[in-house]
Symmetry: C2
Subunit: 171 residues, 2 copies
Amino acid sequence: MIINSNYKIMTNKKLLNSKLFQNFADTGHRLTAPRKAVLNILSKDMNHPTVEDIYLQVHKGYPSIGMMTVYRTLDLLVEWGIVHKFDFSEGKARYELIDHPEGLGHHHHLICQKCKKIINYTDFINEEIKLITKLEKRLEKNHKFKINNHIIEFYGVCDDCTVTGNNKSIN
Amino acid sequence: MIINSNYKIMTNKKLLNSKLFQNFADTGHRLTAPRKAVLNILSKDMNHPTVEDIYLQVHKGYPSIGMMTVYRTLDLLVEWGIVHKFDFSEGKARYELIDHPEGLGHHHHLICQKCKKIINYTDFINEEIKLITKLEKRLEKNHKFKINNHIIEFYGVCDDCTVTGNNKSIN
DNA sequence: ACCTTATTGATAATGATTATCAATAGCAAT
DNA sequence: ATTGCTATTGATAATCATTATCAATAAGGT
């Protein structure tokens, strides 16, 4: 077992000091190096990384980390409502910080059914938020359901696939 | 190999005669018994069945069907835009007719993050459709993206899990 | 009834995720 | 700082949904 003594977490101050992250410690959970490292990567990679993507990036600075720890850390972050787990029918999950401290902000996705490309969009986001907020209140009341998060996704065919007549998954 | 000679598809006329289904034959594809059977089950089961759910139901009337055929048929139906493939992070996919001929009609989902229960809702659907239609037009233009379908999902905690303080997946 | 070729289904292979369990390391108390 | 308790980690094996393969079968036009 090799521990890289040069290992240094490039802390993202904003994130690590955030209210959300501070709640980490409050419930008997421990602020371990692997957890900081995973959260740190998530705060930088807005490309809906998979578990493997995250593992590989964390591994650069922290070679002893195991895949299992990444899985478990992500599960925790999802459970705590810090991270959303997406499933775009690729056979593996993707992850994204819900309230990104300095990134895209609130956004949704267009998903190409042919090449599986995922396009972030923020068009029209204000009108949308107005409606969704109203809808959330109503749903919470009608269904006695505490809403934490929502997603809106449009499925279709992107320009590339229309132009090239792409008929297969680009993978 | 046993063929049940009493096998009889309980055809859902409305569905099998629908425009969508008629397009089946137009592209060189064949209208086989397994395909009719799968579509027939989908037209009855609005409970977001998994591949196994569908397989088991089809199997009752058509014992020689293989799981593979169900997978392949569903892929086709998804490709043709008749069926939507959902992934609620359970490790397996769920399927649903997009334009149900006699059922719920257009609806969306509340997903309990604790017990994984899926609640269909139609509240507020008119206001929603108005916004979504406007949004779709704009997105199609801005991103040169042909939209076929959309989903809106709210994640949170259902009443049962709030009341009982359920802390585990009910499974 | 025949022929062409799409479709089927049994089986094996893949690959993401989960289970297991001894070793390790936070962190609270001393 | 050191100790002790226990949450966490990570190597390995196990699980399970989905995909690949390929010979056998059947749809639909002729």
